[in-house]
């Protein structure tokens, strides 16, 4: 089992907003002051409007070495927290609690072990942190989106290791869903597989990978609800 080595803070703290970096299709990167928060790539934090009780979970998009904290947010229609975060201006404050979670890569797996990353939409966020924090990783990433414009800031990845699966327009490396790609291109059963995104994709990918001989103990999932 993966085991995080960081310790969450005892309470949520306020972090100042540096900027909101718009991407596409209602997505944006929220950059915050780091405020001493220590985390491991793959972990998530709870973020919400300052002084309010509502918070939501976001995987950290930046790396521990950065002197700021970033999260990748997709504005959800009718979503209170995401719309409040979208409206943030430099100098505003948000509540940040954490870090939490066990979606981390253990030390021994970072050196030569084949890693298969599978993401949909903003589920690319923890992999963005992995790829930038651990340049030595032997990984391949499958990123499923509806449109090409939802492939956010892919320069963080080694382009030979990044494969886009696009469903609603041509132009991606693969036309179809990530699960279609997995069926047509079985993964190495020795791989450690990290899945992040919506629950339906994770359930489907879980069955496919198991049928391809990947033991369940080698499947790590972070579900975005």
């Amino acid at each position: 089992m993966s085991q995080s080595t960081t310790v969450p803070r005892l309470q949520a703290l306020r972090h100042a907003v540096h900027h909101v970096r718009p991407l596409a299709e209602g997505a944006f990167v929220l950059r915050l002051e780091k405020n001493g928060l220590e985390f491991e790539p793959g972990q998530y934090i709870n973020v919400g409007p300052a002084g309010e009780v509502d918070m939501r979970e976001y995987s950290v998009y930046s790396t521990p070495g950065d002197d700021y904290l970033e999260i990748l947010v997709k504005e959800v229609e009718g979503g209170y927290v995401s719309s409040r975060l979208a409206a943030c201006r430099p100098g505003d404050e948000v509540n940040v609690d954490g870090p939490f979670g066990f979606f981390v890569i253990e030390e021994e797996a970072r050196h030569g072990k084949p890693l298969q990353f599978i993401a949909t939409g903003t589920g690319i966020s923890p992999f963005h942190s992995f790829a930038r924090a651990y340049p030595e990783l032997s990984y391949r990433v499958l990123h499923g989106t509806r449109y090409l414009s939802e492939q956010y800031e892919t320069e963080a990845f080694d382009q030979e290791r990044y494969l886009s699966c696009v469903t609603r327009e041509e132009g991606g490396a693969f036309h179809g869903r990530v699960t279609d790609h997995l069926r047509q291109h079985p993964v190495d059963p020795e791989s450690l597989c990290y899945l992040c995104g919506n629950c339906d994709m994770i359930y489907e990918a879980f069955d496919i990978l198991k049928s391809q001989g990947v033991p369940p103990e080698h499947l790590f999932a972070e579900v975005y609800f």
Partner: protein, 466 residues
């Protein structure tokens, strides 16, 4: 002046209530169970289910109507969701988290209440020690553990070893009500266990939301859970007394062979493991954010069977979790069949306010949940009966904990927490170990005959006196 304290929910809340009582009685308040005659009314709240939260609102509504007729002070503590906290602040006079307990006397005094005795005065339940040591006021995360609890029982005690939770299971709101995992200093735990043993306690339960992640919040300066158990085991060996130590609840993710090997090495560490499975289906476990798969859980159970072959195995299960299909439920039933639990606490899923899963559709019908609950309950009864039947004819050690519902019988528990009843009206045996020859197995309990009771009672009494 009198106080009445209501506690709802789990053993952790009971343990918190025991410390709150110490503070109130130290201030000179006299305990009453009758709300109508109390000047100070408090509640240790639980947020596990909406019903428990509703009870808090109902109580404070009633108490506030009494305020029109007489002077009354009210407070609330325990597991409180952020959204309820805001509302409670307007309804109760005082609201504090359990870590803020050392400041309770000052909070009460701010309301102009002059107590019958000073905080460290003669009314203190433990006059030999300062009621609220200075260090407890300065350490806002761990200070309240310095307060000696006013134990509810003279032979069974709960010892909290941590507070809070970092696991964020999607069905649970504890991380939002109790905050981050905070480990209690091991030396304090050892001191409390030693004191309990010296005072003749027979059953001690180490409490926490994830006991086996003990120490992980203070990696560089605190011992691990296995080391903590070893320390408790050494206290048992040094004391020469008979007592059983339990812990609840561990998380399968953090359960190691080392923990099991330590239990095997010390007689006072009880052969009973509570290992919540929650579901037997990998996908449901993912949705629950449980951070283990069935293969991993299976390996832990195999280790338990290998290292602790006499241990009883208990578990927690949720049926009808959001999205649980018939096929996924069937895997849970198969898991019960495979692991053959002595006891399982089976609950039909209900959304817990504040927990992540409360945002999802509760899409398994109530009738279907009831059916699944019934299926697993029947499985449990079958397994329990078979396991109990295999014990008939054996003589086992039993800690007597009270009168049985059946007239003329006492009831107690084995080291593995199996319920045993036997014919006796000698209430002096309550709180003592006795030997019972098992004669009959029932579902979830056993019946037996008292064997060599006088010798056992005399021996244990001598130990207490020495």
């Amino acid at each position: 002046m009198k106080y009445c304290l209501v506690h709802l929910g789990c053993q952790m809340n009971q343990s918190d209530a025991e410390r709150i009582r110490t503070v109130l009685e130290g201030m000179g308040y006299e305990r009453t169970e009758i709300e109508e005659e109390a000047n100070l009314l408090g509640i240790v709240a639980c947020s596990v289910r909406q019903k428990a939260i509703d009870k808090v609102y109902s109580r404070i509504h009633r108490w506030n109507t009494w305020k029109k007729k007489r002077d009354l002070l009210t407070f609330v503590s325990g597991c409180i969701l952020p959204a309820d906290r805001e509302k409670f602040l307007t309804r109760f006079d005082l609201l504090f988290t359990i870590n803020e307990l050392p400041g309770l006397p000052d909070m009460i005094r701010q309301y102009g209440v002059v107590s019958a005795a000073s905080v460290n005065g003669p009314a203190s339940a433990h006059p030999a020690e300062p009621l609220i040591p200075e260090e407890s006021k300065s350490d806002t995360a761990r200070g309240y553990w310095h307060i000696t609890p006013n134990y509810s029982s003279g032979f069974e005690a709960f010892v909290p070893i941590q507070n809070g939770c970092d696991k964020f299971c999607t069905f649970c709101a504890v991380p939002y009500t109790r905050g981050r995992e905070v480990s209690r200093p091991s030396q304090e735990i050892f001191a409390e266990v030693r004191r309990l043993v010296e005072n003749g306690y027979r059953s001690i339960t180490l409490l926490g939301q994830n006991v086996n992640s003990y120490g992980l919040d203070r990696r560089s300066d605190e011992i691990t859970f296995a080391q903590l158990l070893r320390g408790v085991g050494e206290i048992g060996n040094e004391s020469g007394r008979e007592f059983w130590v339990y812990f609840t609840s561990p998380h399968p993710h953090d359960m190691t062979d080392e923990v099991l090997e330590v239990i095997a090495a010390y007689p006072c560490l009880a052969n009973q493991i509570h290992l919540p499975i929650q579901s037997g289906d990998d996908k449901v476990l993912i949705r629950m954010n449980r951070n283990y798969r069935m293969d991993g859980y299976r390996r832990v159970v195999q280790s338990i069977r290998r290292i602790l072959p006499e241990a009883t195995l208990f578990t927690d299960i949720i049926v009808g979790f959001t999205g649980e299909t018939e096929e996924q439920f069937e895997r849970t039933r198969q898991a019960m069949d495979e692991f053959r639990y002595n006891m399982a606490y089976i609950a039909a899923y209900s959304p817990r306010p504040g927990a992540t899963s409360s945002r999802w559709a509760d899409d398994v019908s109530q009738d279907e949940k009831k059916r699944r609950l019934h299926v697993l309950s029947e499985q449990l009864q079958k397994d329990s009966h078979a396991l109990n039947t295999a014990l008939v004819g054996k003589t086992v050690r039993v800690l007597v904990d009270g009168k049985d519902r059946k007239e003329g019988f006492l009831s107690g528990k084995t080291e593995g927490k199996l319920i045993v009843r036997f014919r006796s009206d000698d209430t002096s045996l309550i709180g003592q170990f006795v030997n019972v020859k098992l004669t009959h197995a029932a579902t979830l309990s056993l019946t037996g005959e008292l064997a060599a009771a006088q010798a056992v009672a005399a021996e244990t009494n001598a130990q207490v006196a020495s």
